[in-house]
Symmetry: D3
Subunit: 232 residues, 6 copies
Amino acid sequence: MRMHECNWMQVERYLESDDRIVLPLGSTEQHGYLSLGTDAILAERIALEAAEPLGVPVMPAMPVGLAPYFAAYPGSPSLRVTTYLRLVGDLLDSLHGQGFRRFLFVNGHGGNSPAAGLAPEWMAANPDGQVLWHDWWRGSRTWQVVQGIDPEGAHANWMENLPWTRLEGVELPEPKPLVPAEQLRASDPAGVRELLGDGSYGGRYQLPDEQVLEMWRTGVEEVRELLERGWR
Amino acid sequence: MRMHECNWMQVERYLESDDRIVLPLGSTEQHGYLSLGTDAILAERIALEAAEPLGVPVMPAMPVGLAPYFAAYPGSPSLRVTTYLRLVGDLLDSLHGQGFRRFLFVNGHGGNSPAAGLAPEWMAANPDGQVLWHDWWRGSRTWQVVQGIDPEGAHANWMENLPWTRLEGVELPEPKPLVPAEQLRASDPAGVRELLGDGSYGGRYQLPDEQVLEMWRTGVEEVRELLERGWR
Amino acid sequence: MRMHECNWMQVERYLESDDRIVLPLGSTEQHGYLSLGTDAILAERIALEAAEPLGVPVMPAMPVGLAPYFAAYPGSPSLRVTTYLRLVGDLLDSLHGQGFRRFLFVNGHGGNSPAAGLAPEWMAANPDGQVLWHDWWRGSRTWQVVQGIDPEGAHANWMENLPWTRLEGVELPEPKPLVPAEQLRASDPAGVRELLGDGSYGGRYQLPDEQVLEMWRTGVEEVRELLERGWR
Amino acid sequence: MRMHECNWMQVERYLESDDRIVLPLGSTEQHGYLSLGTDAILAERIALEAAEPLGVPVMPAMPVGLAPYFAAYPGSPSLRVTTYLRLVGDLLDSLHGQGFRRFLFVNGHGGNSPAAGLAPEWMAANPDGQVLWHDWWRGSRTWQVVQGIDPEGAHANWMENLPWTRLEGVELPEPKPLVPAEQLRASDPAGVRELLGDGSYGGRYQLPDEQVLEMWRTGVEEVRELLERGWR
Amino acid sequence: MRMHECNWMQVERYLESDDRIVLPLGSTEQHGYLSLGTDAILAERIALEAAEPLGVPVMPAMPVGLAPYFAAYPGSPSLRVTTYLRLVGDLLDSLHGQGFRRFLFVNGHGGNSPAAGLAPEWMAANPDGQVLWHDWWRGSRTWQVVQGIDPEGAHANWMENLPWTRLEGVELPEPKPLVPAEQLRASDPAGVRELLGDGSYGGRYQLPDEQVLEMWRTGVEEVRELLERGWR
Amino acid sequence: MRMHECNWMQVERYLESDDRIVLPLGSTEQHGYLSLGTDAILAERIALEAAEPLGVPVMPAMPVGLAPYFAAYPGSPSLRVTTYLRLVGDLLDSLHGQGFRRFLFVNGHGGNSPAAGLAPEWMAANPDGQVLWHDWWRGSRTWQVVQGIDPEGAHANWMENLPWTRLEGVELPEPKPLVPAEQLRASDPAGVRELLGDGSYGGRYQLPDEQVLEMWRTGVEEVRELLERGWR
């Protein structure tokens, strides 16, 4: 249930018998040849597919997050970490004040993880609330499927190349070697761009949709399971 | 040009000959019988229609803003004002660092206005940048058209009832008297709900699309004019 | 009743039968040939004249506000917007803790408006409090009088030239054309100074006191009416 | 030279040959039988008398400061410490941007002292600036005069009872024993009020003006000396 | 080289030929039967052992971090996430200003991880600096050793029970079943205490020192390798 | 009782009959020829010696504080004042939530004083808590002993030269004239270094331990008295 396809009366009615809500977290940032919106698109879509049969409302994805290391790639706006924490905290506070009690953040971007650290702080202050943070592609079963397909699944390669993130008319190059994460760790934005070039972390840029969609379906299932059984 | 339908290479190419960008600002909040996303939907759409012939990139609408007075209506998340200012400031800082120089905020929600006050502060610190803030429905010509149609155009009545904000299967009631703004000013959220009831500020809930779309077209034109000639 | 002409026992006695307070908000910033303190002087004085017959206490005007666009004119200190919001919020919090419930901000400077956006946020957190924000020169009746006198009333021209803001021994020049607001919008401080020169927005620098004082008296009346009948 | 009796052209001319400015810091808070504005009144007046023969501009006193321990006395608004630090920092930043380089804070309220700790931080970031913080009544010579008159000089007793802080028609009681500072240290606001009662720290409420004005004149001299010779 | 066993002249001499520094991050929080300081003790000691042969200075461990989920266990002070981020950022800023360029955070507490997200933001603003964040027990080789010893190594069980974290005279109970991480995720502090009881995540409370010290030696080696070869 | 030599069960037991805690505050900063950790070492040790016979728990010293004026001396990390205030406030909040009610900050560094200003603010918000701030070397009796030994006792001279702050193998120079505090006040970091040279404020670098330890014993006694009788 898209929040933006409801009016407040419908939400009020929903809250009479449920208190869950899904908040997809995205980013607008370089994804090599793929859409700048990849993380937001995937997070929102996986959340919607997972929540639909349960009737749980889903907010639109937050379109910006934390991507300072991609600052040398135009089209990668980023918030400061403290700003992002306040943003996430304010969302929890105001929705909690309106009756929601169980919050599932479906995150599409690894860089957003510091905000996961707000969950325990917020629950300490709001003991009647529950907050789950889920990086969809790192869910245990989903990650297993990824590893089964190709252990090189990574940022801006086949793992994020889905029918809804690829761009019309953009051709993809041949595979390139994976850039080791260790080299990226201590790099400033110019260094990151030097290492990544086109922005992909390497490996194959595309795999047959049937393979990638298997990962996707597992991802959807894991989000749904969390929504159903992830609470305390 | 939707930012999310580009990759970073396309944005880099764009920046070789231009430095404008449009940032639509929305809100998720009660709009009576209409979509909770009304302000985000309208801001993003009007920005896209205005920017398209110019080839200027448009970010996705920020889906939450400042709506604390609607806190008694579920489905109306809101940020604290200081959080929102930081959010807007971080967007400007990071996009400026990537080559953008002229920023047009197309705002769809009156409550977001405090962030307009950041523009001069930011330009004082970044004298090579230009920031325009535009409340689309209050543009001088658009507002004239609204007044010409019906001077009672207001929050959650016909003025925001467009084919893309109305909800399937939701019936609209008969007109009700307009609630005077003065009564709302000093009210806390419970008081606001008591005064507004269904959430609309009053007047007629719907007018024929041909009338409302005249307002819309004027709105699109005004945004486009700003993009073309609003800079210093 | 000037707060600074009371001791705490007198305020405690006042609070036994009333809970209103007036907080004038000023600025120290360029006003062309007029006093740098124009906005603070006018806000405090209009508040005092309005409150006196009602016995409501009036704080001294906050002498600084938000004026980053005048940064190229020396003598124009300015706060960051987030600082100003905290300042206004702390004033409300601490006075509320001491028994005040109805707060009227009488603002003398357009640039301070972002702080008005704090009122609904604060009332959502303090539902037993009421906060009114009033830009004295834009009160509906006062603005009508201004328009009746001369539709070019603006920053640092006749509209702010009163016996208590003009400086001894300073001569005023002949009128100059009004600078269109649109040109100022996207300008950094150096650009603002280039456009405004002496700092006035243009038009006539002075009108006969009897005319300007009519505006003033209407302004005083409007503030008093708000104090008497502006509450929910 | 009162800043509010100048226009910006006069300040610009001043800055051609000087770069000093005085910023008086006050508070609005209980002072027993004396004016709630005592600290602001004294800080501003002593600054003006000291600066006048030197032609150095003086801002109006900041009317609120840090007085949380007096929260049980109505009429004692207070800022949070972090807000106050931001306020002081913003004043320095913006005036520095307009050409001032030597800043003298003349403080009238002991509770404001945490802001003195900002001076070295600000000078580390702005090595061409100099910031002096001066608690006028604790200046070495002034304090000696106070001790010579009566070692019990303290908050809201004779030491702050000057022709410009006492209130018409308010009678003063007989002396009471001094409340030991140690008892106040660990007290919450209710405890402070229990200990202080009328708000004075004790001792004599008034001494002959000729004695108190000796303290005053020494205070003025010390401020003036700092303005003349306190810089590095 | 302990920073606190140097004076500034020795550090200045060091900086003539090197620019590395180690900042251990700890926490004071419940560790079952073990010391409340376990995370700080281990982080500081592993950093010192690793840095000693290289002559790189090591700060004392930050004794508090992020542990809000243990709030129901007395002796577990915790910072807010935004405070911790500012703390870490200020350390980087001030040490960078004094000549350090390569910073290794050796972290002893999983809950501190949100601060790792500051590293890329800080490097984007300070491109001549390098920041590495290392959770010592999760280093790839160390974790392998842990898994080899007993895959149930976890908070407050044998994995953190070393000669320098165990307390004299405190007896350890028999093993208990491991508490699944999923159950802890959505729990508030009271729920966490209900699940954990004595505070250990379960498994065996102690293993022979020779085994645990193998993990320790690997941990030391990994930190040293990072210090030697982890930079870009 | 060192907090880090307890586990949480022991603290819980302690809280059944007491609610005091000591928080030593240090700094890592230049101390001339002495240890960079002088302030942290002294604060922690004096707190431990004072608290031991009373069985009150003592946190490890906070190793960094406010020392921006020493920024030209490498090895002097410093927090921003607002960060430090948040840090101190968070410690109070979280320990208060776990049952502590009486907090004694034993401070070893004059520059940390702005945080003392948080105590009344915090007690106003937490009226069941008591916060004492004590600069150990400025305690009235300790200071008298210092004056009796040598009125030139100051930063990084004999007054801080104790067996546990002096460094092996570092020779001390002959006395030098005391640098007048007034000269330091308005100096930026480079100016401070120019004035202080080796970092000591001047006077004698060392006195016989028997003299300095008399100061120390008095310092310990004063802290203990505060712990026993300093509360309201």
